[in-house]
Subunit: 476 residues, 2 copies
């Protein structure tokens, strides 16, 4: 028997026999090396094997510990419940805490930010990846370093062309998902201390990005159906030295609202006249439930003040981390910042998506994806009407996979969140969507998991928790 | 014939006939749509086809233009020469200008930052990628979002274990290459305005990263053979409120120097005692020419003050963009910053490298890579001795693929660079490696292209340019 397996077996027997108890620390690699005269890699391999078998777990910087011996799924649930009782207080921690919880597979993913990965043609992408890598010229790893693969940028340019938009490949920078695109867009349009206008409620990623860069946020009133209110925006621009706006004019997160074409045109004209950059987060645009893709505000950009940020993460290839930005007058600066921040975007991901777009029907995939999302939204809205308190209001977005729910004012969403987690359900409490936790009786509900048959039952459970009323829910 | 091909043919004939001349702008998509009644995508497809055929080229935000009709390689060379005469003045632009030039394939890549992509097992990685993606659970795209794939972090932990180092998977964050790792390390250890100690000469990426974050740099004397001088460091730390050091203790870029084990231990003890973070850039550590991998300074880290940044870009998988950081006491903060800046690292790249590490011999590949680099260095050093001026000094690194050349003081490296580019040779002038352009008669020479048979001849040409002496070289 291999040496490390022997050592692993020995430890497993000691754990089974109760000589090592849950929570006990295993000896450090150095200790074992010294005492046993074995190599560090033998010890590591043994611990790794035990970890895979569920006997032990690694803890940051303090080594390996004997695990609690519960079956994994139940243990995961228990951990989630324990977490729900230890809620952090500061904004950023709150967001991370709830988001990490929302990704736990045991929870019904109504609080998740992501659609079900089962909606995407990952097998076809794998075939595309294989073909693309077999064909790849090794020198592509050095070509187009900061801006990204030229053929992919041409494809994107053609896709803009299909929307009647004239975006040259040279205006595009490929990024590690839209998140990097948005951060780079902030970097090239602002300096720390500047004022940036955001929607309210806003995507928490925007709030975090502003905080991280030392920017000041001003909020613009955002209608649950028609998006950014231009009168409110004008007042904000008159009152504050706004350097950039970070808006989602199409299928806004969390509201799901979309600005009318006309309003988008006015928005761009207004900002262009004042030489204010528009950072347009358009990651849900392809997920329209109706026949027509709402054009981005970028479609009305004549002078290059709009930085349009897109991504394949929600439309085609989750996990591949391919986004982009059409950065207008900021394109050259953005390429430099991309180079300084992460040099370049993963080439295999770029080439696989390029191959898919060339060889396969992206449109056919999108049609079935849109259909699945629209169908789930319709079903879930019926369940919300049926099970949630009568005073509940809910948005009915024309695209994307979020709905925004306004509950009766006495219900505290954080408290509801805690109780929901104990019942195995994740939700995104409204408090996440503003820095002052203003949306205290609101929820964002993820309806991007049409294959998850637990959804309706989960909505029913949420309704039951709320109907119980009283202190259990209302007290935070 | 398909409509767009008809239109492309028509334009090609007009170009061939000289009705459309090099530099002429093609009509905008909107104009053609209006005049011909065709769709935007027809026009785009036609322009895209013409671009592929070399008839036209896209220019940022101003549309498509008729290309000069020269064969592509010659045109590239001409562009490089034209660029060499239009040298920008500010530091950041200088760096970008020279780096973008250095990547042009027609130039002998002595100025490149990258090793030859032909040194890497890209075909085997493609096979690993195929296998990994076929096996992939779609839910992995949501698991381990910020920190990266757990199995890959365990593998890295085991590799640390083989060096006798105890780095738990939970201390690791997978990043988009080392560049992102280093930037995140700066983010979690400093605030804008803080002081960071760097080597001199330093990697220009470090200088840019500091500038980008609004940090102040202080330089620590760095010996061409033994690296950071601890006495100099002590004086710097006594005189300045240093928050972090960004050092490359192993095979430093550009010098190639490596600190002795003992000096690394003292370095970590010194910084730990003062609670100063060490950002350790260790991207060349695997490329040792001798039998032994110099241990990272992190090997002496007891209290988590060292953030060890590594990458597979230079050892296994260029273009895959997989790096990591073992962030010590900053691990949790770093994971949050990773999430905020780019959410997660491309999963296909992570899984392909994991499969390679599990199934193939990374060590065998590394042995042949190291051997090729050592052999090229030996040959190039002989050529430098033979052809360069007698007073030339050159480092003889024990690893990596750079040598640092100190030329006679009357030679201006930027001027040499310009003349070299005209002869089809790229070099990295010493001016790139300090903010004040101090290293004016120095070069970093890339010897990471053992398959490039032009290297010796290029070194001979450089020698000839310098031997001509006088104003041609000396005047900047």
């Amino acid at each position: 028997m291999i040496r490390y397996k022997e050592y692993a077996d020995e430890l497993a027997q000691r754990i089974d026999a109760g000589h090592l108890k849950p929570g006990d620390r295993l000896p450090s690699v150095r200790e074992v090396k010294r005492q046993r005269g074995v190599s560090a890699s033998t010890v590591f391999s043994a611990y790794y094997l035990l970890e895979k078998q569920g006997y032990v777990e690694a803890r940051n910087r303090s080594g390996y510990y004997v695990s609690a011996k519960a079956p994994l799924a139940a243990a995961g649930r228990r951990a989630a419940i324990a977490q729900a009782h230890a809620m952090p207080v500061d904004y950023s921690s709150l967001v991370f805490h709830i988001l990490s919880q929302a990704r736990q597979r045991e929870l019904v993913p109504l609080g998740s930010a992501f659609p079900s990965p089962e909606l995407f043609p990952l097998d076809q992408l794998a075939v595309s990846m294989g073909r693309a890598l077999r064909r790849m010229d090794p020198w592509h790893t050095v070509d187009d370093l900061a801006v990204g693969n030229l053929a992919l940028r041409r494809r994107l340019s053609m896709r803009y062309g299909m929307l009647g938009m004239d975006v040259a490949p040279a205006e595009l920078v490929i990024t590690s998902g839209a998140m990097e695109a948005l951060n780079l867009a902030l970097e090239v349009t602002t300096q720390p201390g500047d004022v940036v206008a955001i929607e309210t409620p806003a995507f928490y990623g925007a709030l975090q990005a502003l905080e991280r860069r030392g920017l000041r946020a001003v909020e613009v009133a955002t209608h649950p159906r028609t998006g950014v209110e231009l009168d409110s925006l004008r007042r904000v621009l008159d009152a504050h030295p706004v350097k950039a706006c970070w808006f989602m004019p199409t299928f806004q997160n969390p509201l799901g609202c979309t600005m009318a074409d006309d309003a988008k045109a006015q928005l761009v004209a207004l900002l262009t006249a004042r030489q204010i950059a528009l950072i347009e987060d358009d990651v849900y645009g392809e997920l329209h439930h109706g026949a027509r893709r709402p054009p981005p505000a970028k479609a009305w950009d004549r002078d290059g003040w709009v930085l349009h940020c897109g991504s394949f993460s929600k439309s085609l290839a989750p996990g591949y981390r391919i986004g982009w930005v059409a950065a207008g007058r900021f394109a050259a600066a953005l390429a430099r910042h991309k180079m300084m921040s992460s040099l370049s975007t993963a080439l295999p991901s770029q080439l696989a998506i390029l191959d898919f777009l060339q060889e396969r029907s992206f449109e056919r995939h999108l049609r079935s994806l849109r259909h699945a999302l629209a169908r789930q939204q319709a079903a879930a809205l019926r369940a919300i009407e049926q099970y949630f308190p009568a005073e509940t209001k809910v948005t009915r977005p024309q695209g994307g996979y979020f709905v925004w729910v306004e509950l009766p004012a006495h219900i505290n969403a954080l408290s509801l969140h805690r109780q929901a987690v104990q019942r195995g359900i994740g939700i995104a409490p409204g408090q996440l969507f503003s820095a002052d936790h203003r949306y205290s009786h609101h929820l964002r509900i993820n309806l991007g998991h049409p294959g998850d048959l637990r959804t309706e039952a989960a909505l029913k459970v949420l309704g039951e928790i709320m109907q119980r009323r009283g202190n259990a829910v209302a007290v935070s």
